[in-house]
Symmetry: D2
Subunit: 285 residues, 4 copies
């Protein structure tokens, strides 16, 4: 089995939007996050995507918190670390400081500005609706820091035009070694359909690794579609709590286990951390 049949499974361990009232197993402290990283690693993930939280679960952009998370994870396992830079209502300097200081292997780079909403067909209303600001000026600002520090950008694309925003940056020579995440199911961005994924994944530049990120339970449909289309996948409590309708996962481990099972069911294999480093072309820490 060649590397092209290996699947990089990323676990998005915690996010910042949900809390323990909604899901008891969401990790808050660096130790808890690192324990979840280990559980994900043991289950078959090769990358963790991380947002930091204060000990009460609130979002944190403090470098010391990210540092402690990184140290705790490195103690436990060799999993690849991907730190978020995405936030609504937070200054861009705050969103990049931990990247500059801590130099994770990968950092998320949000590739577009958009309406970012959730709709409830039951209530016939938006659950929330905000604007997620990522003007080109900010994208280039983040990219500059990543380039100077040898950090691989994970281009987070919530829409077709976000993916195609890659091309001017490549043409300017400031976006070179990167990977692509196709995030589907946020209202305002592209919908969570396998048909959309087949189209958009076909536009990722040849040789560039891509993964799908599905929000809520539709995630599992997209995982199946991405596995069939040759892509990588992301799961984890940040994106979706449920193994099945009504069956909440007791941590990231069971979500990764399900992702591993689905990977093997289509005839592919989860990439080890070492294989993932080669597939994603990320340096060792």
């Amino acid at each position: 089995m060649g590397l092209e049949d290996k699947v990089v499974i990323t676990a998005a361990l915690t996010g910042v939007a949900a809390n323990r009232a909604q899901c008891h197993w969401i990790p808050y402290t660096p130790q808890e996050i690192a324990d979840e990283a280990l559980a994900a690693y043991n289950a078959g993930a090769s990358v963790v995507h991380i947002h930091a939280r204060e000990n009460d679960g609130g979002p944190s952009w403090r470098v010391e918190v990210f540092r402690e998370i990184m140290q705790e994870i490195r103690k436990r396992c060799p999993i690849i670390i991907n730190f978020s830079t995405g936030a609504v209502f937070v200054e861009r300097d705050a969103r990049i400081a931990h990247i500059r200081e801590l130099k994770p292997e990968i950092a998320a780079l949000n590739m577009g500005t958009m309406n970012y909403a959730k709709y409830s067909p039951k209530r016939k209303d938006f659950v929330f609706s905000v604007v997620f600001h990522n003007p080109f000026d900010d994208i280039m600002f983040f990219l500059d820091t990543m380039n100077k520090n040898g950090i691989k950008p994970e281009c987070e694309c919530f829409d077709l035009g976000h993916l195609e925003s890659i091309f001017p940056l490549m043409d300017m020579g400031i976006l070179k070694n990167f990977q692509v995440s196709l995030i589907m199911g946020v209202v305002g961005g592209m919908a969570a359909t396998a048909r959309n994924l087949a189209h958009v994944a076909g536009l990722v530049p040849p040789g560039v690794a891509w993964e799908v990120i599905g929000i809520s339970q539709e995630q599992w449909l997209l995982v199946a579609a991405a596995l069939a289309l040759g892509g990588n996948i992301r799961v984890g409590l940040e994106d979706n709590f449920y193994l099945a309708p009504g069956n909440m996962a007791q941590g990231n481990g069971p979500l990764v286990e399900k992702a591993v099972r689905m990977t093997r069911d289509v005839g592919r294999e989860p990439a080890t951390v070492e294989e993932a480093r080669r597939i994603l072309a990320v340096r060792s820490p």
Copy 2:
């Protein structure tokens, strides 16, 4: 969960191309075939697709053999019966007699003429290469019998143009209540890719049920893609022996069990026989 989230799982129990030297668990006799139908039913299939064999495993078009298969299955379980009409080098009268006599709920209708080959990249040669003849004249001949006997055609489409051959027949008014199978991976027909499936499934007329049929181990990739795209699926020893590389299934039951697991993993549910009758709009026997 509405009917649109239910998945009709068909088990293609035996076929005619393979034999017990290749896979010990292929059923030959009517009793063996019916036992496999029961195993598939118990595992979660709602339809069986059947070719008849003589007791030595050779292909059979004798009506009595099909009759005995049908009787033995009916004794065991209420699963929906779909009889094949497809063959290379067999006269069309022989390919339809059992349909006229026995009136299964569904009969396969091959929608095009094509090169039908298998290629070995290892040997750098075709393993076999024949022409599969299904001229429009034969298609209309088969359809006439099905229409007169209230049998639902399963339009077997090995290529994009086979699917689009449906339109003149609909326009003539001779193809009315039908379902579509998209068969992928035969060399000469369309390749087994999720990208092809996303395109071709999008062209099935609205309201018409469709399933994917994948040949060999690529089947599981296509099952994942079809589940994600909202389609039905077919598995079974006719199409593929293996649960995973090197792991041959000990009968159709384990293959259907895997299909059921994959169905639930994307958040859908296998249709019961009664649900399948409504989804496919087939009469009770």
Copy 3:
């Protein structure tokens, strides 16, 4: 030839971004704009899309200016009037007042927030890069006014996710009789490719009229693609000055003439104003 082979040609007469230093034939005053509307009508357009300008060419949102434009056009010809509501850095009240007061048949409704940029491969830099704000709250605010005044929204979609933002609004019952414009080629939105158009146009709800809007000279490629895909088209000095490389159009008339020729060249016919009213389901003024 049925209505489905008729092509609604819209002329975007003036826009606000360009000026006479760049293109001598851009109309500024209500009389000039109305003269261009007549030229477009005579050439075969059935709809005009209009931004208002002050007499010096600067952008205007004054109701009296829009009123004079409307009156001058109505004097000259029965063409369908579509007024813009799109602007960067303008309050939403100002963007909708003329719609409420003047009740054009159609008003543009921008369906998403986005990075809105132009890139120069020659300079290796953005020519401009801003954020175009259209949060759902504003979309619903505009829609409310249009619904109360019987004005048909033209949903302007610069990206896949903008088109799919239609679905919650339809589900809430506040977006009913509407048409779709697919705007391609703005950096930050979807790229101007026929492959994108084939995908996105396939997602427009059945029975809803759609058109393509291409920015700059790539417009003509998209016009050809939309004509082949069964869509309507928009041309005009707002979108593109050039008939061919180096050959600037002397007004909107020649651009519409070219659109008419391309329409007939694929075997379709421009819709008359009366046919366009039926295709778009817009009331008479």
Copy 4:
């Protein structure tokens, strides 16, 4: 303008299916065919695709006839010559003899077996319906002759699976320098839609030139789609007589003139013969 914006226009001068009772301007004799080749060349075509006829218009496979056609064309202009090998009810030896003897730059290679029919919605019946036989064995037989004689195959693909039949031949190393024609609109093969073309053209191996061939008046829609998708085009009396509904072309020249106009209308340019030789990678004669 780079070569990628140049369009190779092929003129299919005569075919064998139609006759002068249907279209007065169809050429029969070598002189007439060569005169039409010159007219096509003068209008902007860089390749001619040719079937031979006897002087009474009936189909001919006689090498002397093809030889005379070639000589007469060479006298008149340097246009690239592509000879057909396709026929129903003709032995394969007869279909390839002129290729071996005369070594045109390009020869057509039909890539699949299929139902080949024409349907009349008015009559609610097939106008004709045959099987077009091109088993892999014949394909390899033709290819062997082309390879030995340095003739570039034009892989004629009437369906998705015909295009994908290229891959085993490439893997065997017997199909190397080739071009692809996507033929749309024959009932039994893929339908003449821009949506199909967008999908199928996306599967042509990178770097391989492709053209669209549309049958009957839908041709012009497909020409527009192919021009927008970056492909080459074929027109000519073999495929379609009409410039517009009811307006029969008085020879191949006017059809090529229309193709040239459509090419320029999207912002591309017809390739000269020399440019076409480079784009198609064909030797000089």
